[in-house]
Every structure is written in C-alpha cells, then in structure tokens.
C-alpha cells in the first residue's frame, strides 16, 4: 500500500515535471502560477490547517521573500539563490518578532491582527529607499519559464514532504493538539508558545521562497502587489477547499481552483469573478471540511454526505 502510494506520487511528479517539454507556453505559465499558489496554500496549511491559527499574515512572508530576492539582486547584485536566502531570513525574523505577541491572540483576534500586518508592511516598505519606496524594483529579466516551472515544482514537493514529515512527528502532533485544544495541549507538556512560533516561521519559509521565485519570474514588484492581502485570501480558500490539516488537500485545492478560475476567465471573461465566488460558496456549503473529507466520507454516506453538511450548518 505504502509502496504503491510512493510509486503513484513519483509518477505524478514525473508527469508534472515533463509539462514544460510537451506543453505550450501558456500551459507552463499557468503551471508556474498554480504551483506557487499550491506552495502558498500548503504553507498556510502548517499554521492554519495544523496549528489551527487562521493567519492572514502569510502574504507578508510572501512579500518579504519577493523583496529579499529583489533587493539582493538589484541593489547588491547578488545571485538569485542569495536573494532567496535573504528573503527566508527576513521571513523567519518577522515570524519570531511578530509571532510572539500576535500568536497570544486566539480565533478572530489573531486573524484581525495578522490582517493588519500586511497593510502595515505596505506603508513601511513604501518608505524604504533600499526597497525602491512606492515605485518598486525592476529585476534583471530571465526569460526561462521552464526553469521557473521546475523550481516551483521542486519547492512544492519540498513543502509537501515537510508536511508529510509533520504528520508523523512529535512536533506535528503538538501542533494538532494545539489546534484541537490549546489548554489541553499545554497541561500535557506541549510548549504551546514555542510550537506556534515555529509553525508560523516554517509556514513563512515556504511562503517567502514562493514569493522570491515569483518576483524573479515576473521581474517587477511594488509594495501593493507584494503584500497583496487578496493573495492571502486565495491561499486560505484553496487550502480550505482541498482540506486543511491534510497532506495533499491544499495542493489539490490549489490546482482545482486555479483551473476553475482559468477556465472561467477565458469562457465568461467579465463575470468570471462572480462564478468563481459561486464555486467557493457552494464548496463551503456542501463540503465545509474540504475535498479530503469528501473523499474520506463519500464512500460511507454517498450523496447524503452533502445533505448532512447542509443540515449540520443549519442552512
């Protein structure tokens, strides 16, 4: 069973890796976006899905990763890899500095506090000369989409493997215990503060790497687009659509919704946003615990599964 799963996973990864060889340019570009969104959804999964803290601050990590690469490459003329490292360092420092106070808040309060962080970052970065103030930075162009595609795919594999390890580790169990009942976890010996900050930082590392790759690919960034809060909403929707707190849910959610959004915007263009909204609302009503839960329970309850969900949420 496990051997079969490993084989399936390897085949899927190989198939995805082969896309730039056979696919069109448009498909590769769609792929890069979808893969990076999947990384973001998976990164959010660590703090939101496993530790149960619905973070709206993950777009800050993404922005810091973007600026890390941009500043290193444009201002200091360092290689791309050094930029990634710098971006990750910024994200980790941010996670510890702000995670410590903000992670003391619970539920909605945590969400609101993190929501404010992205706005604050726009204001701060807009006034830093090194970051190009509110005009932004233009990176040296590298016209090599297949490379960015493979980088994004590699990062997604790394992120997913990390989450796989999480589900089998003492650390991951501590996070789940925090999500399920924080006080209960503390009296059983879980260092809740440390674990929450580590989860925040871990989720920040992957988001920053995604931001760094995206910045070099797009070759331009300004504060508004780097710390875009709607990106954070997207990663939450994708993670929740697929199944938060599962290994593959957020990846499946990101791919599915990216495809749906792509098809809609090419078919119905101007009202695509509306249809996308309907898809998301329908998903929340019919399968509030994500695709992963549908797969798990559908065999037992059949179509009644969806009706049960509607009833359970008193709609």
């Amino acid at each position: 069973m496990t051997a079969l799963r490993i084989v399936i996973a390897l085949v899927v990864i190989a198939a995805l890796a082969a896309v730039p060889r056979f696919g069109s340019d448009v498909l590769v570009q769609f792929g890069i976006n979808a893969l990076l969104l999947a990384v973001l959804a998976q990164g959010w999964n660590i703090i939101g899905g496993y530790a149960g803290y619905a973070s709206f601050g993950n777009s800050v990590f993404y922005g810091l990763g973007s600026y890390g690469v941009a500043i290193a490459m444009v201002q200091w003329e360092l290689p791309f890899a050094a930029g990634l490292v710098f971006g990750v360092a910024l994200a980790v420092v941010f996670a510890f500095l702000l995670g410590l106070p903000v992670l003391r808040l619970k539920g909605h309060y945590f969400a609101i506090a993190t929501l404010a962080l992205a706005q604050v970052m726009i204001a701060i970065v807009s006034n830093i000369e090194l970051a190009g103030q509110n005009i932004g930075l233009v990176l040296p162009p590298l016209n090599n989409d297949p490379l960015f595609y493979e980088l994004a795919l590699g990062l997604l594999v790394l992120t997913t493997l990390t989450i796989f390890w999480l589900t089998r580790s003492r650390f991951g169990f501590g996070l789940i215990a925090i999500r399920e009942n924080e006080e209960g976890a503390a009296v059983m010996g879980v260092n809740t503060t440390l674990y929450k900050v580590l989860a925040f930082a871990l989720s920040g590392i992957f988001s920053a790497l995604a931001g760094g790759i995206h910045a070099y690919w797009i070759t331009f960034l300004d504060p508004e687009s780097a710390f875009d809060i709607s990106l954070n909403v997207k990663m939450i929707i994708m993670a929740v659509f697929g199944g938060p707190g599962t290994i593959l849910g957020p990846v499946v959610g990101a791919f599915t919704l990216s495809a749906v959004s792509e098809v809609l915007s090419s078919e119905v263009t101007s009202v695509a946003g509306l249809f996308f909204g309907i898809v998301v609302v329908a998903a929340v009503v019919l399968m509030p615990r994500g695709l992963a839960d549908v797969v798990r329970r559908f065999r037992k309850s059949g179509w009644r599964y969806f009706i049960e969900n509607i009833r359970a949420n008193r709609i």
């Binding site: 089998r168 580790s169 003492r170 169990f173 501590g174 789940i176 215990a177 999500r179 399920e180 009942n181 006080e183 209960g184 976890a185 503390a186 009296v187 059983m188 010996g189 879980v190 260092n191 809740t192 707190g245």
Partner: protein, 244 residues
C-alpha cells in the same frame, strides 16, 4: 514520607471573588488525598493552581521540593504533574489512540520521541482504563463515561508522579465508579501520588487516605476520612446549620 506537593497560603482572586483563600496543605508521596466541598468551593481552581493553568494571586506551590509557582503549565507537566479536566478537554478530531499518544509524546520528562512507540504505550494505557476497544474511534464519538476514561488515560500516558483528578467519576453509574476506583488504586500501587476531587462521597471515602474539605475557598477540615466527614463544620457546610 516526604511530601511530593506542598501548597502554602495559596490564594486566587477573580476580580471581587476569592475562589481559593489562603489554603495550605501537603500531599505525601504515594498518598491519595481526596478534596471535597460544595459547588463553588474552589476545588477546580485549586487543581488549576497546581497544574499551572491558573497562577495564584499569592502563595506558593512546591513540587518535589522545588518551587513551581511561576512555571507555565507545560513545564509542570514535564516535571511530572498530570491532570484531568472536569469539563473534558479531549482532542475531538483525533482518534482515541492519538489523544493518548499526545500524552506519551510529551508529558513527564519530555516524553517519547518516536510516534510508533508512543502509540504502543497509549494502547497500553487505554487497555488499563478499559477503553481498549475504542482505540480507532474519534474522541468526539465517545460518550460521557468513555470521555472520563479517556481523560484519565491521557493523564496517565504522561507517566506523572502526581495525578490530579477533577471529578473523574461524575456521571458514572455504580459499576463504572467501582471500576475507576480500582484503576486509581492500581495507579497508586505504581507509586503515583493522587489528588482527587469528587462529589460521590461514598467513593471518595473508600478511596482516600486523607480528606480535605473546602468551603467558600477556605480549608475547613483536613484529616482521616471518617473523622472529617463527622466533623461539625463539614456537616454544616454541606447540609446547613439547622440539620447539623
């Protein structure tokens, strides 16, 4: 015997209410101490002061000779203090087995590093409390009595030196109560000291070596169960003055 736990002049205020007022007592190693008192007497607050979920407004908590008053709950757990909650705090989305495995992974001394071994140990504790058949169920699928047992198994999996039980028998029938008493006696035989809060007087009387009575946050009696239960102030606290 040396005391494993020493509470000295512990007080806890909630705004205007004094939930625990200048309470001092000791708990010897290997002893079972029962704590009784009417509703709102401060029993659960007392346990929270020991487990670290609440900090005392004043006074000291000394565990195994070491002052732990300022330590957070997780550090106390690692020193060897395990507790159950009256309002049960299971990890609802986890299986019964994994609920207990958390205790084995963390708990006294930092716990087990390996997940498989932790699960193996968890299975042992579930058998011990009589939940061996429910290992694969989700914790929120258990009924009340099952959850009480689960709370106990979770605390035991931490391999504590001191076990604090907050009404583990409430809502159980006579047969189930006898089973839990039996379990707690076996726990004590393993050298674990126990503090039990209970409303079921008959049960706590047969189980405890010593009884402590709280009333309006104050300690009003402390001694051998028979003597305490026939004490005039204790009877008054429970039944009112005229009946006494």
């Amino acid at each position: 015997m040396s005391p494993i736990l020493e509470i000295s002049h512990a007080t806890r205020r909630f705004a205007g209410l004094i939930a625990v007022n200048d309470v001092s007592f000791t708990l010897d190693e290997g002893e079972i101490l029962g704590v009784i008192g009417p509703n709102g007497a401060g029993k659960t607050t007392l346990i929270s002061l020991i487990s670290g979920t609440l900090a005392p407004s004043s006074g000291d908590v000394i565990f195994a000779g070491q002052p732990i008053t300022g330590l957070p709950a997780f550090r106390r757990a690692r020193l060897g203090i395990g507790r159950t909650f009256q309002i049960m705090r299971p990890f609802p989305g986890l299986s019964v087995l994994d609920n207990v495995a958390v205790g084995a992974l963390f708990g006294h001394g930092g716990g087990e590093g390996d997940l498989n071994r932790a699960r193996e140990r968890a299975r042992g504790y579930l058998d011990f409390v009589g939940l061996g058949k429910s290992v694969d169920q989700r914790a929120d699928e258990l009924g009340g009595p099952g959850r009480k047992r689960l709370e106990l198994a979770k605390a035991l999996a931490m391999q504590p030196k001191l076990l604090l039980c907050d009404e583990v028998m409430a809502g159980l029938n006579h047969v189930e109560i006898d089973e839990v008493i039996d379990v707690l006696r076996k726990v004590r035989q393993q050298g674990i000291s126990i503090l039990v809060i209970e409303h079921v007087i008959k049960a706590i009387k047969s189980l405890s070596d010593r009884l402590l009575v709280l009333h309006h946050g104050e300690k009003i009696a402390d001694g051998a169960p028979d003597a305490v239960l026939s004490d005039k102030t204790v009877v008054e606290a429970y039944l009112g003055k005229r009946r006494a």
